[in-house]
């Protein structure tokens, strides 16, 4: 019976996936339990899956001394994610529409222009000079998302959704007198909705997780995002632990508490961890739809 075979296969798949998920889950559990343990126990016995000497002190400590920074970090992250996603989806879909518009003569030229930046870049220094000296993006909120407005890969992804929309639909609209703006907003966007959701999610995740732009362009603490605060802390710990500190003065500085590090990790991951289960089906569906029709 093929059905039985399938069943055995299915069971083994489920077991394999289940085990794999458990393995992936372990670091998270360690982080959560570590953040709920007492510092002395962690120092003495190391991490464990269940909190050692359960306490909320670490969170209490972080929120008593750093509430303002953490709240501001969250606010900045949310702002950057929302604004960044909205703007970049607009720019990306518009670009994708242009390079798929059949009547547009230079569409291949523009497609190549975008493609070219995937292969070659001017390097970090020219990028930095352009961003700070010419566009003055340093220490501004805009600087935290403008450089990422067009992700070429996602733009091509969106272009593929647009291509999958039958050209006749556009033609009939044109016959009815619709211009490009109308076609774009009234026909292409609604019909390319699945792609839209997918790229929005990708963008949102990218903006939420980004620490590179704040690192490069922001020194004002008021603009720190939660990810950057996290990166900042980790980078300092790593540097002090690597012994490089000896080069400039032989300092051994007490690194931040282990539990604080983990608590910070939990705070950063929390929103994504909460939202992801509800959103991830769009990722999968979005990519599949594109691949079949593309």
């Amino acid at each position: 019976m093929p059905y039985k075979e399938n069943r055995a296969l299915l069971v083994s798949f489920y077991v394999a996936i289940g085990l794999f998920s458990l393995i992936c889950l372990v670091p998270f559990v360690l982080a959560v339990s570590g953040s709920l343990s007492t510092e002395a126990k962690i120092a003495a016995d190391g991490y464990s899956l269940l909190p050692r000497g359960f306490t909320l002190d670490t969170y209490r400590f972080m929120f008593s001394s750093k509430t303002e920074q953490i709240v501001r970090g969250y606010a900045n992250s949310v702002m950057v994610t929302v604004l960044g996603t909205a703007c970049s989806v607009l720019v990306t879909t518009a670009y994708a529409y242009v390079i798929t518009a059949k009547g547009f003569r230079y569409r291949n030229f523009f497609a190549f222009l975008a493609y070219f930046t995937m292969l070659f870049s001017g390097g970090t220094l020219p990028w930095y000079i352009l961003s700070t000296k010419y566009y003055h993006l340093d220490d501004t909120l805009a600087g935290l998302f403008i450089p990422y407005l067009l992700n070429v890969f996602l733009m091509y992804l969106q272009a593929n959704y647009f291509r999958s929309i039958p050209h006749e639909v556009v033609e009939s609209a044109q016959m009815d007198g619709a211009g490009h703006i109308k076609i774009f907003f009234r026909i292409m966007l609604p019909l390319g909705q699945v792609g839209l959701v997918t790229i929005s999610l990708f963008y949102a995740l990218q903006f939420w997780n980004d620490f590179y732009l704040p690192l490069m362009l922001v020194t004002d603490e008021k603009l720190f995002t939660i990810q950057y605060m996290m990166y900042y802390m980790m980078a300092n710990i790593q540097f002090l632990a690597s012994g490089n500190a000896a080069r400039i003065g032989g300092a051994i500085v007490a690194p931040p508490l282990e539990t604080a590090k983990l608590a910070m990790t939990c705070l950063t991951v929390l929103p994504i961890a909460v939202l992801y289960p509800f959103l991830q089906r769009y990722f999968v569906r979005g990519i599949i739809v594109g691949s079949v029709k593309g």
């Binding site: 300092n236 032989g250 051994i252």
Partner: protein, 519 residues
Amino acid sequence: MIRRLTLFSLLAALLLVTACSSQSNEGGNAGSNAAPAPSSEASGNASETPAGTSGADFSEPVTLKLLFYTGQSQRLAEIAGKELKELVKKEINAQLDLTYLPWSEYGGGKTDLMLSSGEEFAAYTDINYLSKSVSKGLYADLTPYVDDYAPDLKSNVAAASFDAFKMNGKQYAIPVGNRASSAAFYSVMVRQDLLEEVGMSSVGSLAELEEYYDKVHAKHPDMIGFASADATYMLMYEYTDMNLNWINNFIAVNEAAEDDKLISWYESPEFKAYASLMNGWYKKGIIPKYAATNQPQLLSDWNVGKAMFYPGTATRPIEGIASITQAVPTAKLQNYFLNKNDRPKISRGTYNTAYFVSANAKHPERYVAFFNLLQKNQELYDFFTYGIKDKDYTIDEKGRIANLTSDLFFDDWMMMNDKFMRFETNVSDDFIEEYKHWDDDAILSKTAGFNFDNTKVKNEEAKLNGVYTEFVAPISSGFVDYDTYFPKTLEKLKAAGLDAYIAEYQRQFSEWSAGRPQS
């Protein structure tokens, strides 16, 4: 088709040209601006307004951008907005713009970008980063300003420290801080509490150090022995009769000999002796097995009191104790030399922190004046290091300090100056006494003040560093056996150009030694 191809290639060429030219322009600008700007301003300043006895001129209000690593504490932010602001305004007519980056950006990363893109700022540097940046023309020459703008600093910081940050006779960075710095890493810093716990009182030789390990290991089998993978300095007195000092990974000098001969370290019999010692430690478990793959863990273990000894410096016992006592309240640290006998301690003169000013700074002299403030006198030293008296700290009748806040001001490891520094109430008198006489038998290294110009052997240097990380480091940390692995490693080193590299080093060093005034 052909038309389109032409268009594309044209476009590609255009993009490449713009990318390249923007890069080279910047480099060129930074380079050419660097040299002439400071000197012309210097002469201008000196002749225009000879204010008082010195040539310092503070008439024009300026903003100084200072870049620090780590972060700004709440209290520092508070005083930066008030007391510090007023002080700097009053003393040198300037405003401070304090910016912070994570440590990952030190000596590279964003600091490099800021330098290369011609921003104006000052930050700390070490000798390596200094010589790299000066050769690209990124640091301002501060020579003309030291006498006029930093007279107090000059008298409160050792001249050797100033010399250490010179290149081609020019002062490219200003040292701040002045502390007992000889024999850095040559001592073993031991957990004295554990030593006493196992019935020993001191450690004076390798044999005693291993005895200490054995005894503690028997009592606390979960503790690790040595919390580092490098004991080149610490064990030197044991494996050789010379008095060795290292210029870099590859080159050593014998400070006891009156010559200018450089020793190719890895080819020397001393390296063999050292590597065998380390291999013995590794096999025995004194260096934990995980050290080969996870070195940062070693320091973490040390910091939570799970290790027995660590390389020491004059100040480490008081700098490092705070984090250990969080986990082990009874912990005590003590420096010991293994079999040193009467060999003098070696001072390199570079142990202090120094600040550079970027080449495009409009007022480099005002930065120098600010560094002067940091170590001008006891009052200002206290202010920058500890905050405001009776609010942030108190001083008892013995001159010991008690901090009332855990917030840091200007990093004390950077500020530390023997003339001004204060000890906390829990530091023992013995330690202070030892610290005061730490440098008494020290000699200045014959390499102090020598900076290597690597232009001619850049490729060799890069290759050698690659070989070092991949093949040499495991041998020198004792993770693998010298006899089995060294012959092949030596081949790799030779292939990478070790001989040419050392020859070039020797040539420059001999030249420099010959031209140096004998003291």
